[in-house]
Amino acid sequence: MFRKLLRVRCESLVRRWASTDPLSFQNEKLQSYLESLRQEYYALRVNAAGNDRLYARLTRLDPVVNSLEKHRALQRNITSEKDLLAEKDEDMRALMEEENNVYTSLLRKQEEDMLQELLALSDDEDYPAVIFEVNAGAGGQEAMLFAQELYDMYTSYFDHMGWEYEEFDRETTDIGGLRHANLQVNDPEAYNWLRFEAGVHRVQRVPATEKSGRIHTSTASITVIPRPADVQVQIAERDLKIETKRASGAGGQHVNTTDSAVRIVHLPSGLAVESQSERSQLKNREVALKRLQAKLIHQQLQSAEATKKATRKAQQGNLNRNEKIRTYNFVQDRVTDHRVQQGGTLHNLPGFLEGGQQLSGLIERLQLEHRKQALMELLETWQPPPQEAADKN
C-alpha cells in the first residue's frame, strides 16, 4: 500500500519535471508546436503542388507528422484510467494493465523517434555544397605540418561519409606541411556536419622540427562556408586575360615548346589565378578557371557571410567564430572538444586522425547538442498561430 503511494507520488513528480523540460512530450508547448506542424503539413498537402519550396518543406515535415500520427494511434490504444477503474472483473483489469504497459513502452519509443525527426527538422539551413578551408595558424612549420594532418583527416572523413569533393587550391611546404587548402564538398548533407568543425584546432606535441624536445602548441583553423544554390558566378570570356609563358614569337608547327603553364587574370575583379599542375595547357586553363570561380564565389560568400555575422553578433553578443574548439594532445594521446561539457575527451589520437568513425561520432554528438539547442530556442520563441487559438475558443 505504502509502496503504491510512493509510486504514485514519484510518477507525479516525474510528470511535473517532465512538463518543465521543453523537449519532453508532456510539455504543452511542444504538443501544440507538433500540432501546428501537423496542420501545416495537411495544409501543404493541398497547396504544395507545383511549388518547389513548399514541396521541399512538405517532404521535410513528412517524417515528423508520420511519427506524430503513429504516436496518436498508440495513445488511443491505451485504456484510460476511468475505464480501468470502471472494470469490475479483476482478470480483465490485469489484462488491460498489462496491455497498457506494452503500449506505454511503445509510446516512449515512438516519442524518442519523433524527437529525432523533430531535431532533424531544426536544421533549417539547406545548402547543396560547402567550401571547406584548412589554414595553418600560429606556430610556423609545425602549424603547417598539423594543417596537413587535419587536411588528411578531413579528406578521409569525406570519403568515409561518401561525399564528393574537389580541390581548388592547395599550397604545401618543403617538409610536407600545408599552408592552406581550399576544397568544395558537394553534398547537401555536408554543411550540417562540417559546420561543427569550423574554428581553431590546437595541437600540443613535440614537433618533428623541434631539436630540444620541448612541447609546442600550434594551431590550424578550419573555415566552412555554405554555398547556397543560388550563388552563381558567371565568367564572361571577354573579361579574362589568359597569359602563357610564350607571349610572342612563332607558334603552331614552327616550334615545339611545351607551353603549359597558364595564368588567368579576371579583369573586373583584378583576381589572378595560375595553374601549372598539368602537362596540357588546356587542362591547366580549366584548373585555373575553376580556381578563379572558387575565388569569386568565396568573395561573394564572404561578403554575404560578413553581413550575416554582423547581425548574429548584434543578436547574440560576442560570439567568436574563431574560438578554439578542439585540442589534439599527442603527449597524452587525447582529443578534447571544448564545446562538449561532459566526456569531451577521447583517446586514441591516431585513430581519430584517420577521420573515420571516431570523428564522425564526435560530430554527431555536437550535432545532436546543436539541434536540441535550436529546437529549444525555437520553442521558447514560438507562439501558437492565432487562428488556432481562435479555433480552440
Partner: protein
C-alpha cells in the same frame, strides 16, 4: 650560308641520336628498377632529387631550352614513374636511386641536344587524354587543343557525327573528339606508317578503337581516299595539314627540324599545298551542309577565304575563322554547299 645552317644541326642530330639510343635502353631499365625497388626499397644509395638537379638548369639554358623548370619536373616525374601532377614543384623529399639518377642524367643530356621533351618521356597529355609519342611522329601542339576544343563545342549537341581526319599523326585530334563526344565515329587517314601504327595503338590504349578506323594512305590528286572509303560521305572533316612554308624551314627550332617528320610540316611554297588537296577531298566526300575545319598558319585564313571565293564558288563556303589562344587568326571553318 646553307653550310653554316646545316652544320650545327647535323651535330645536334648526332648527339641526339646517340643519347636517344641510350635513353631508349634506359627507358626499359627504368621500368625494371621501379619494379624491383617496390619489393626491396633499399637498393643502392639514394640521392636527393634536389641535389641531382644541381647545375642542369644552366646547362639547359645554355643549350637554348626554354621553360626549364617545367622540363625538369616532367623528366623527374618520368624517371620516378609518377604522375606529373603528383610531383611537388620543389621536389621536396624525393629521392633517386643510382639507376634512376643515371636515367635522369641521360634524359637531360638528350634534352640539352634539343630532343623534344615529349619524345624523351614517351607520352604526352592532350586535353583529357594521354597519348604515346614516337620519334618521327608529329607531336600535337597546345594550339591544337584550342582548335579541337572549338570543334567539340560546335558538335556537342549534334546527334551523330561521322567524321574524317586527314593526317591524324598520333591520333590526338580524332581521339580527343571520340573521348569527349560519344556520338562521334571517326575515320582517319595518315601517310606515315609509323604514325598510323601509333594512332591505332593510342586508340586501343584509350579504349576508343571501336569507334575509330585508321588507314595508311597518301592523299594525292584524284586519289584522295583509300579504295575502301571511295564512296563514303562525311558530316565533318578535320585536319591540321602541314602548313609550314618552304622558306620558313630555316627558322624552325632544332626540336622540330631534327626530330619531327618533315612530311608533317612541309606545306609547299605558300604553306597550303596539302590544304588544297584537302579542299578537293572535301568537295568529293563531304555531304552537303557538312563542314571542314582546318588548323593553319598565321596568315592563311584570309588566303583561304580568297581561294574559296575564287575557285570553290558553289562547292565550298568560307564560314568563319577563329583566333588561337595567342590571338593569332589560325583556324578556319568551311562548309560544303
Amino acid at each position: 650560308m646553307l653550310k653554316y645552317l646545316t652544320q650545327p644541326l647535323r651535330r645536334t642530330t648526332e648527339i641526339a641520336r646517340r643519347s636517344f639510343c641510350n635513353s631508349k635502353l634506359s627507358g626499359s631499365s627504368a621500368k625494371v628498377t621501379a619494379a624491383t625497388t617496390t619489393t626491396t626499397p633499399t637498393v643502392g644509395p639514394l640521392i636527393e632529387v634536389r641535389e641531382a638537379l644541381d647545375g642542369w638548369s644552366d646547362k639547359l639554358k645554355e643549350a637554348g631550352v626554354s621553360d626549364i623548370d617545367f622540363n625538369l619536373k616532367c623528366i623527374v616525374s618520368h624517371v620516378l614513374q609518377r604522375k606529373f601532377n603528383t610531383v611537388p614543384d620543389d621536389f621536396a623529399q624525393l629521392k633517386f636511386n643510382s639507376e634512376q639518377l643515371a636515367d635522369f642524367e641521360r634524359f637531360l643530356e638528350a634534352r640539352c641536344a634539343r630532343m623534344p621533351l615529349q619524345h624523351i618521356i614517351g607520352e604526352w597529355d592532350f586535353m583529357d587524354i594521354t597519348l604515346k609519342t614516337a620519334p618521327t611522329v608529329f607531336i600535337p601542339r597546345p594550339e591544337t587543343e584550342e582548335f579541337i576544343r572549338l570543334v567539340i563545342e560546335n558538335y556537342r549537341k549534334v546527334e551523330h557525327v561521322n567524321m574524317l581526319e586527314v593526317g591524324c599523326g598520333s591520333g590526338a585530334m580524332s581521339l580527343s573528339m571520340l573521348h569527349a563526344l560519344p556520338q562521334v565515329d571517326a575515320t582517319a587517314i595518315e601517310r606515315s606508317k609509323a604514325a598510323t601504327k601509333l594512332a591505332w595503338e593510342n586508340a586501343k590504349l584509350l579504349g576508343l578503337h571501336q569507334r575509330f578506323k585508321v588507314f595508311n594512305h597518301t592523299m594525292e590528286t584524284d586519289n584522295y581516299l583509300p579504295t575502301e572509303l571511295q564512296d563514303k560521305q562525311y558530316d565533318l572533316i578535320i585536319s591540321n595539314p602541314p602548313y609550314v612554308k618552304t622558306e620558313e624551314f630555316q627558322f624552325l627550332h632544332p626540336e622540330v627540324v631534327v626530330y619531327e617528320n618533315l612530311n608533317a610540316l612541309d606545306g609547299g611554297s605558300d604553306g597550303l599545298r596539302v590544304a588544297r588537296l584537302v579542299f578537293e577531298l572535301a568537295c568529293r566526300h563531304l555531304r552537303p551542309g557538312g563542314q571542314l575545319w582546318l588548323e593553319l598558319g598565321n596568315d592563311h585564313p584570309p588566303l583561304v577565304k580568297t581561294i574559296m571565293n575564287m575557285q570553290y564558288q558553289g562547292r565550298l563556303n568560307f564560314v568563319q575563322s577563329y583566333e588561337d589562344q595567342y590571338k593569332r587568326e589560325r583556324f578556319v571553318q568551311l562548309e560544303r554547299v
